[in-house]
């Protein structure tokens, strides 16, 4: 593993000033993410997992500590288009076809028309949506829409993929399928992924590293290494090793919660 991490977070804190006084969304968070890692941030609502992801993406500004992405500040990284971001909802623009949606970042970043066409075709292939290029978002199922939004995030080939509960709104059958596809995608593209979820099986199945977070103030409770073979399938969820890791995550979540109430 390379010595310089993709993401290096040291002593990060973020406090929102609200009318009811300050809310400590993040407090003393430190985390290193290496190239090729698949890191899941898991925790109950209000633990700051989404906020942490948004800080990395320069969508929120920390009030303390340091974040560096490839040695750059989050803002520099954003301006350099260093990451692709997948939101909780597909956020496809309804007036654009699927192909045009995938091409949106390419248009903004000034890719040529031919280059865009090639990348859109590749993107559609990557997420198994070939043939849907000229459909509008409403003509696709929720799962297909979310796959399109993943293709959109990957269209300009960023090294880092930030995903904020991308499958949270989908039913379990679709979610399982997408989890498997995402794993293949990760294996194929060698991206570094930061993935927010509140599903334990999802986190254990996908990750090389599970960051268990706890709320009020949001902080890291535990980091669990999780190195199943890269070509794993959903069957792995029945193995004792899988259940063992899942148990540790569950325990971590419980401990993180216990002294709150």
């Amino acid at each position: 593993m390379s010595s310089s991490p993709v993401i290096d977070i040291a002593d990060l804190s973020l406090t929102f000033e609200t009318n009811d006084g300050p809310v400590h969304a993040l407090s003393n968070v430190s985390l290193r993410i290496e190239k090729g890692d698949f890191v899941s941030l898991i925790g109950p609502s209000g633990c700051g997992k989404t906020t942490l992801l948004r800080v990395i993406a320069d969508l929120e500004h920390p009030t303390g500590g340091r974040v560096s992405i490839h040695g750059m500040t989050p803002e520099e990284a954003r301006l350099k288009r260093a990451y692709g971001y997948v939101f909780q909802a597909p956020a496809l623009y309804p007036w654009r076809t699927i192909g045009k949606n995938i091409g949106l970042p390419l248009e903004i970043m000034g890719y040529s028309k031919d280059e865009r066409a090639t990348r859109i075709r590749k993107g559609l292939e990557l997420v198994n949506l070939t043939g849907f290029e000229n459909k509008f978002p409403w003509q696709l199922s929720g799962g297909m829409q979310q796959r399109a939004s993943i293709a959109r995030a990957l269209s300009f080939d960023p090294e880092l993929l930030l995903m904020d509960e991308p499958f949270g709104a989908l039913d379990e059958i679709v979610r399982d399928k997408l989890n498997e596809q995402l794993l293949r995608l990760w294996e194929m593209t060698q991206k570094t992924v930061v993935f927010v979820t509140h599903s334990i099986p999802e986190a254990v199945f996908l990750s090389t590293k599970i960051v268990v977070m706890s709320p009020r103030p949001g902080k890291i409770h535990d980091i669990i290494e999780c190195n199943f073979p890269r070509d794993r399938t959903l069957d792995i969820r029945e193995t004792p090793e899988f259940l063992d890791v899942a148990n540790r995550v569950r325990q971590g979540l419980r401990e993180g919660h216990s002294y709150v109430d």
Binding site: L59, R81, Y93, W95, R96, L104, M109
Partner: protein
């Protein structure tokens, strides 16, 4: 067959229209009967039946409320039987009104869109301009129109332009309000997405705000075009020498030609309906191309 009619819009509309027409004829009897009795008295006719009275109220030359068929006859006469070049033709007056309306509508909606873009992008304008935009609509147009025409006349601006300016004055407001709402309609997620691409303000404007505002824009254009027509007609009440529906209404009221007034009213309403429908068609075509189901 009947069921299919009932479930559609056709039958309910027909039923309501039929009821209105019946009420109208009844109203004509009530409103015109006094005058009819006087007319019979003047002609020394004391020996009339109720049927005579009723038929009389529906066929007066200057009734207080003309019967629908009288208005239709007048419309037929002034739209189809009269040469469109004649000053007695409603086609002529319609042309005068519609050109001023459309010109005013173009100015008004262009101005409305520009104002909306400024208001959305310049924070201080949101605070300083928007109250004036709202205040502009609290002034009764019927009071403002003559002043605008007189002042413009002072500068030798006559003809189409003063009327169009009044039409524009009424139509820019709904367009501004609708467009501001449309440009602000993208949700935080859609805006965040643009931010993750480091999109510039101009890119966000053209690729997100403008397309998102289209449905809002069309809704307000429909209101705006109808308002433009009202503005033009009001302007023509003051500036009647060029003709137009307003001039026709004015002339009708001078000479107590109620049938003429009602015919002009219906023709103006039909024009407004046609303009709104035209924008509706354009709306459907554009939103369909933009993926609406």
């Amino acid at each position: 067959m009947l069921k299919a009619l009932w479930s559609g819009k056709t039958l309910p509309v027909l039923v309501v229209s039929a009821i209105l027409i019946v009420l109208w004829y009844v109203g004509a009897i009530l409103l015109n009967s006094d005058m009819q009795r006087d007319a019979f008295a003047n002609a020394n006719n004391t020996n009339y039946t109720f049927a005579d009275l009723v038929i009389g109220t529906w066929s007066q030359e200057r009734p207080k409320l003309p019967a629908p068929d009288q208005i239709l006859t007048e419309l037929h006469k002034t739209v189809i039987d009269t040469a469109p070049t004649s000053k007695r033709s409603l086609v002529f007056h319609g042309y005068v009104t519609l050109t001023a309306t459309l010109f005013g509508f173009l100015i008004g909606s262009a101005l409305g869109m520009v104002l909306a873009i400024l208001v959305v992008h310049v924070r201080s304008l949101d605070k300083s301009l928007m109250p004036w935009v709202v205040a502009s609509q609290t002034i009764p147009i019927i009071a403002l129109a003559p002043m605008i025409i007189v002042i413009m006349n002072q500068f030798d601006i006559t003809g189409l332009v003063p009327k169009s300016i009044i039409a524009a004055y009424l139509s820019f407001f709904p367009v501004t309000v609708g467009m501001v709402k449309g440009l602000r309609s993208p949700d935080p997620l859609q805006l965040d997405l643009m931010r993750t691409y480091s999109a510039s303000r101009i890119q966000t404007f053209f690729k997100l705000r403008i397309p998102a505002s289209v449905p809002f824009l069309f809704a307000s254009l429909k209101v705006g075009v109808a308002a433009s027509l009202v503005g033009t007609v009001v302007a023509e009440l003051t500036k009647s020498e060029d003709g137009g529906f307003g001039a026709r209404l004015l002339a009708g009221s001078y000479y107590g030609q109620t049938i003429q007034i009602w015919a002009a009213l219906f023709a103006a309403a039909a024009c407004a309906w046609a303009l709104v429908s035209l924008i509706g068609l354009l709306d459907r075509a554009v939103t369909k191309a933009m993926g609406a189901r």
